[in-house]
């Protein structure tokens, strides 16, 4: 709390040196946002109840927080630990409002595109909170992605583990900081000052979207401008920072090194470890790559690039020793090693790309392409340690560019003119605005996941696609309805699967508001399943319609209807679209045929209906009900003379979720369907009463669909277990599917296959209970293990002899590093 004043004077000298400097000094190049993203399994506890939240927070210092979901209101809430003497409770809960695709605290006017950004903001600025959020020490102080990963793997167990050390907040800092804090030399702080100023000016320069003056922000806070808006949060479009981030990334390493020179950090006694990338490349090549390189999908191209990135990295790394600061680099190990281990690949890849870009005169297209590659992270990579840098690439940590820029400017002569990258950025920003709508980001993440055969979701989707491609060959076709129903059924299952397998990272709950979740998932599934199959589905459907003659019948009905004055035939009593209007509608219909997503098709259908209404209205401004609309619609359909429309209607009806069919889209879809069956019943000008045969048939189909709809959900329950694989430096988590009756032995065998282990005998499965690793008995049933409360933390698959070492790494990793560093 006492640090709040830092934010009162963002332009002044950093009053918070005490807080800021040690962070710089201890090489905190991982942004708050990254820390949050990497460790969400710790702080994002949607399933816990308020009692559990209280229990966890009770032992934590003020500022510690959790995000959970209220059982009664189903709203997410931020639970903040207050001071012990707070009334009525030491924990205060703030509802999180999810509205208009954004997240915000209930009482605040500031909203964010996703939950992680919201939390990151409140780690820096209190706004409506009594004080800023504090990350647990271990997370705030972790100096490498790997440490964060270890913490993340523990999930909720982290809070009760030894890793979660709770030193007194303002007392003597933990070991890691010890050499840094007492540092009497002012340089690091001076640098910090520059950082602050630089970020502010950067902020102004970019003039981000929601520019709010501190006084505006003051609204909720009470006295004084309590908010200092970090550029991080003004960066609605994280991409903005991407370009110079890439410039800065490498420099940030150098800069950090220079900073360290001034510190009184003494070289560790232990000799520097070998360049980590060798180990990494080796580990990766041996354990992961062989199985994947065979594939030819786009993920592999990424992998190949990754490898390239690795090897590229090696050169500069090896060059470093010639640099005077090389000694320092070594002294920093293992912390620095850990860090470098993670960062450079992306950096150098980016550097290479930038050079290429420059050669091509920064053509927008190229940039777009490069960034698209960077943007669309293969989530698969999240499994390997390399993944995290790709996560970094997506979840741009906008804080970083400004930091590094600020830090680097005073030291490095600007070999990269800043304005150059800025202008490039401006050019790019437009391209990425749409791309970064949170919903679209989810869709893209899911799509990437669906291509990745290393993930169970990817396997599920790709196997299905392959199977469907075979199934849609002409000889094996059944009926159009069967075909579409099969697709819908699969998508329902895949959706449940995706939510349960936990492979989507960060979880969808943090990316889109609750009310848009299902809609976003639907779109994502359409993209994964329908888009790749679009061609085959179309061909198959129209072949079937040709074969059963229904296509021809409809075409004939349309013809005879248009021959016999359609106005009278349908009893049209309003004005209808003219020839020009009909052309426009026909154009929309052809667009509809090209779209793969049923949702897009419905939108086009609604546009068509709107056209018809517009024509009906004429000058009177009268409202028309179905008495007038249905005849007009039938007239238009006959005039457009596109029998293919019936296929489109069926496609939408079968593939849209039921909830869609009761809304406006469903109503007009029903109207078109009704209209088509009326046309097909070959109406006479003299109305006949009773149901015609054709209409009865259509009705049967219609009700059949409606009744089976609800039953088809969730009839296959997928079950998953997360397994963390640890082998030396290699650590990755996979989600494995299992069936009832699977025991520990079988699961271990499965792990051996999945993780590509050569000698399965030497590896074993373990599970963590109250901080201790216990071997999984060979005959243990997986469901029993999960019932024992281990479901949130992954099982661990590792070398039997590594037991002690690895457990130390996971449980006491941070401490180990601290000891070695001191």
């Amino acid at each position: 709390m006492q640090e709040d004043h830092v934010y009162d004077y963002p332009d002044a000298h950093p009053v918070g040196e005490k807080r800021t400097c040690p962070q710089r000094g201890s090489l905190k190049s991982i942004s708050v946002l990254d820390r949050l993203l990497l460790t969400y399994p710790v702080w994002l506890q949607l399933s816990i109840n308020s009692a559990t939240a209280l229990h966890i927070l009770q032992r934590e210092p003020p500022g510690t927080f959790l995000v959970r979901k209220s059982n009664t209101s189903q709203k997410k809430m931020l639970c903040l630990r207050l001071t012990d003497d707070s009334v009525p409770s030491f924990v205060k809960q703030f509802f999180i409002r999810e509205k208009d695709s954004t997240f915000s605290l209930d009482s605040s006017a500031i909203s964010f595109p996703d939950l992680c950004r919201l939390i990151a903001f409140y780690c820096v600025s209190r706004d409506v909170l009594p004080f800023t959020l504090e990350l647990p020490e271990a997370i705030a102080k972790a100096s490498s992605h790997k440490q964060l990963e270890s913490i993340s793997h523990m999930g909720v167990e982290f809070w009760s583990s030894q890793l979660n050390f709770r030193g007194p907040r303002n007392g003597p800092p933990p070991v890691l900081d010890a050499p840094v804090v007492p540092n009497p030399k002012p340089q690091p702080c001076t640098i910090t000052t520059t950082v602050t100023t630089a970020s502010v000016s950067l902020l102004q320069e970019f003039c981000p979207i929601q520019t709010r003056s501190p006084s505006e922000l003051d609204l909720g806070a009470g006295q004084g401008a309590l908010c200092f808006i970090n550029p991080l949060f003004l960066q609605e479009h994280p991409i903005r920072g991407a370009m110079h981030k890439r410039h800065q990334f490498k420099r940030s390493i150098k800069v950090r090194v220079s900073t360290e020179t001034t510190s009184s950090l003494s070289p560790p006694v232990t000799p520097p470890p070998p360049p980590p990338l060798l180990a990494k490349a080796k580990g990766k090549g041996k354990k992961v790559q062989p199985t994947e390189v065979v594939q030819i999908d786009k993920e592999d191209k990424k992998n190949i690039q990754d490898i390239k990135g690795d090897s590229d990295y090696l050169q500069p790394y090896l060059v470093l020793p010639k640099n005077p600061s090389a000694i320092i680099t070594q002294t920093l190990s293992p912390t620095a090693e850990e860090e470098d281990y993670q960062l450079p690949k992306a950096v150098l890849l980016a550097e290479n790309k930038i050079t290429e870009d420059n050669e091509k005169d920064n053509e927008d297209e190229d940039i777009g392409l490069v960034l698209e590659k960077r943007k669309a992270p293969s989530l698969s990579e999240l499994d390997s340690s390399s993944s995290l840098s790709s996560l970094d690439e997506t979840e741009e940590s906008p804080q970083r560019p400004s930091l590094t820029r600020g830090t680097s400017n005073p030291i490095i002569s600007s070999s990269h003119p800043t304005h150059q990258s800025v202008s490039a950025l401006r050019k790019m920003s437009a391209v990425f605005v749409s791309f970064f709508m949170p919903g679209k980001r989810v869709i893209r993440l899911v799509e990437d996941l669906s291509y990745d055969r290393r993930m169970s979701f990817g396997v599920l989707i790709q196997d299905f696609l392959r199977e469907q491609r075979d199934a849609m060959k002409p000889q094996s076709l059944t009926t159009t309805t069967e075909l579409l129903k099969g697709l819908r059924h699969f998508m329902d299952q895949a959706k449940v699967f995706l939510l349960e397998c936990g492979e989507l990272e960060p979880p969808i709950e943090t990316l889109v508001p609750e009310d848009e979740k299902d809609h976003t998932l639907e779109k994502a599934l359409f993209r994964c399943v329908l888009k790749p199959l679009k061609g085959q589905i179309d061909t198959a459907l129209s072949n079937m319609r040709e074969n059963d003659g229904s296509f021809k019948r409809l075409a004939e009905s349309m013809k005879s209807a248009s021959d016999a004055s359609p106005q009278d035939l349908f009893g049209v009593q309003v004005s209808v679209p003219d020839a020009h209007g009909i052309e426009k509608i026909k154009h929309k219909m052809s667009l509809m045929r090209r779209a793969y997503s049923p949702i897009d098709k419905v939108v086009l259908l609604l546009q068509i209906c709107k056209h018809i209404y517009k024509a009906m209205k004429g000058s009177k401004g009268q409202e028309f009900g179905a008495d007038d609309f249905l005849p007009a619609l039938s007239y238009v359909i006959v005039q457009c003379n596109m029998p293919e429309l019936s296929l489109e209607v069926e496609y939408m009806m079968e593939l849209l979720e039921t909830s869609w069919l009761t809304g406006e889209g469903g109503y007009y879809l029903t109207s078109v369907y009704a209209s088509l069956s009326y046309i097909q019943s070959e109406p006479k000008a003299v109305p006949s009463s009773g149901l015609t045969h054709q209409v009865k048939e259509s009705l049967k189909e219609w009700s059949h669909r409606r009744s089976t709809e609800s039953k088809s959900q969730n009839d296959i329950k997928q079950r998953f277990v997360k397994v963390l694989f640890q082998d030396g430096d290699c650590s990755l988590v996979k989600t494995l599917q299992w069936t009832a009756g699977l025991n520990g032995e079988a699961l271990a065998q499965l792990c051996a296959i999945k993780f590509g282990v050569d000698q399965p005998d030497e590896y074993g499965l373990y599970w963590r209970s109250s901080g201790k690793l216990t071997p999984v008995p060979l005959d243990a049933q997986i469901q029993d293990l999960q019932n024992m409360g281990t479901s949130s933390a992954p099982l661990i698959y590792q070398h039997s002899n590594q037991n002690i070492k690895s457990s130390k790494l996971t449980r006491e990793g941070a401490l180990d590093f601290l000891e070695e560093a001191s």
Binding site: E623, G625, D627, V695
Partner: protein
């Protein structure tokens, strides 16, 4: 044809438009309208499906009332014919409609009492015989329109997510609302 002109569209428009509040979401045309009303501590969202009343389109009606929670059948109190047609609709609905559908009978044009052809008593008795809601309305003067939908709202069984409708079709889905949550 006799079914057209009884004023069902007017009733719906009146219902939806009378209260220009935030509960109305714009739709592209008057055939499909929505409105959210509160009933107890729940909010019910009415998705109102209009059906074409002309006899030539009668056979299509089942597509519209499939899956509806309630149906409103409107007749014109000044036209005896429209009341006879209404009986046909009720019969069809009972035969082909969803089992638990709530049926409401609305005698519209209550403001034209002096040329009334359908006595209130007859209509009421008929409604009672089929356990339907009965109410006389005037879309022009906004009489009893709100009440009509309120009484439907009360009859929708709680905690079931159904929808149905009828010839002057109203598809009604409900959204049970957890306490303390506001719909926007």
């Amino acid at each position: 044809m006799q079914d057209t002109g009884v004023g069902k569209s007017s009733i719906v428009c009146r219902f939806v438009q009378d209260h220009f509040d935030h509960n109305i979401s714009p739709t592209i045309g008057a055939s499909f309208l929505t409105k959210t009303v509160s009933c107890g501590n729940e909010l019910h969202k009415f998705l109102i499906w209009d059906t074409a009343g002309q006899e030539r389109f009668h056979s299509l009606a089942p597509m519209y009332y499939r899956g509806s929670a309630a149906a409103v059948i409107v007749y014109d109190i000044t036209k005896l014919d429209s009341f006879q047609t209404l009986k046909k609709w009720v019969k069809e609905l009972k035969e082909h409609g969803p089992e638990d559908i709530v049926v409401a009978i609305a005698g519209n044009k209550n403001d034209l009492g002096d040329i009334r052809e359908v006595p209130t008593k007859d209509a009421k008795e008929f409604a009672e015989s089929i356990a339907a809601i009965f109410i006389e309305t005037s879309a022009r003067n906004a009489v009893n329109v709100e009440e009509l939908f309120q009484s439907i709202s009360r009859q929708i069984p709680p905690l079931e997510n159904t929808d149905v409708d009828s010839h002057e079709s109203f598809k009604i889905t409900r959204q049970p609302l957890p306490p303390a949550r506001r719909c926007c």
